[in-house]
Symmetry: C2
Subunit: 199 residues, 2 copies
């Protein structure tokens, strides 16, 4: 038994925080242990390696993201699409408040750093992105069958474009230190650009 929270969960949560505030390679296992209030032996009781912890951190973010996207609902398909933009913005605003600045996307950060260096982690991230994209695609398909998308817009490709736009805008906001509201604004514009006039 841990103190308030189980040790394992404390490790994952505080690691998520540290990975976001700096990066995977920039944070040592020692520092992760200190932040979690745990000795190194305990850490390696729960996780066979640092990269295995990273997978757990990814899973934590995945469930959090999927929850957030579920909550974000609107009436019409067009509103639901705009709801996506708001959801991403809300998440990023949350990070902004917790860290005092834009720290990037948990998935995007790890993907940039590790996709070419750790094949297992790359695969893990790929499935996380796939689930994310699937959520987007479901809403895009709804919009398509409701006929609110412009002619010739493929819902699957729009979903990927939205995901890419989110990743790119988050990255640009991180490097140029702008606010999270810019991110959702850009996403709203991208949604509008693909909706039929009047929606």
């Amino acid at each position: 038994m841990g103190q308030k929270l189980e040790s394992r969960e404390r490790i994952v949560r505080s690691s998520a925080r540290l990975f976001l505030s700096r990066s995977y390679n920039a944070v040592s296992v020692d520092e992760l242990c200190t932040a979690a209030g745990v000795r190194k032996g305990s850490f390696y009781h729960f996780f066979p390696s640092k990269s295995e912890l990273a997978k757990a951190v990814i899973d934590l973010h995945t469930t959090a993201l999927l929850d957030r996207l579920e909550q974000a609902s609107g009436q019409s398909p067009a509103e639901r699409l705009h709801g996506l933009a708001d959801a991403v913005g809300t998440i990023q605003t949350g990070f902004e408040n917790r860290f005092g600045r834009i720290v990037g996307c948990p998935f995007g950060n790890l993907a940039s750093e590790l996709a070419t260096a750790d094949e297992e982690l790359r695969e893990h991230l790929a499935t996380a992105f796939t689930r994310w994209e699937a959520e987007f695609a479901a809403l895009c398909r709804q919009a398509a069958s409701a006929g609110v998308l412009r002619d010739g817009v493929d819902p699957e490709r729009l979903a990927r474009a939205l995901l890419a736009q989110a990743q790119g805008q988050i990255l640009l906001a991180k490097v140029s230190v702008t606010s999270a509201s810019e991110i959702s604004r850009a996403l709203h514009e991208l949604v509008d650009a693909h909706l039929r006039e009047g929606y």
Copy 2:
């Protein structure tokens, strides 16, 4: 005097390669030196620190990118906008051929990993992105004054959206190991989505 190439330039070039194939923190100064055929003392003769080398690597990529964007020309503003998509695709195809896979964007990779960890590097990357964005914005403004953009499309915001889309698509391609042609295809679609019908 170095062998064929000056030592400094060999260090920068081979470091650019190694940073792309893995990541900044995943490559040690020792490895950078070995790859460049240089002893550590020489390395620190040219660069006061590893992060200072990173700045030189960024500068190398910046001049290469700006050259590539300059070459990419078309007749009409619409063609020039599509030329951007091709230029990004060409660069990524080049990396794909050299490395055997998508390795990401040199700027994006470093930005994700270091923007929150090294303030000087973050600033350096920010100005690199600004110059990149300025190139895009110039073409978008041309398109706007030629009247080929859809009503209500702000050229400056379109430039940023294109840049973000490029970054996001490159990241997604890297993590899901798709080909570079997907990246330019997505950019072409985004351009089309903002051009008036018939252009």
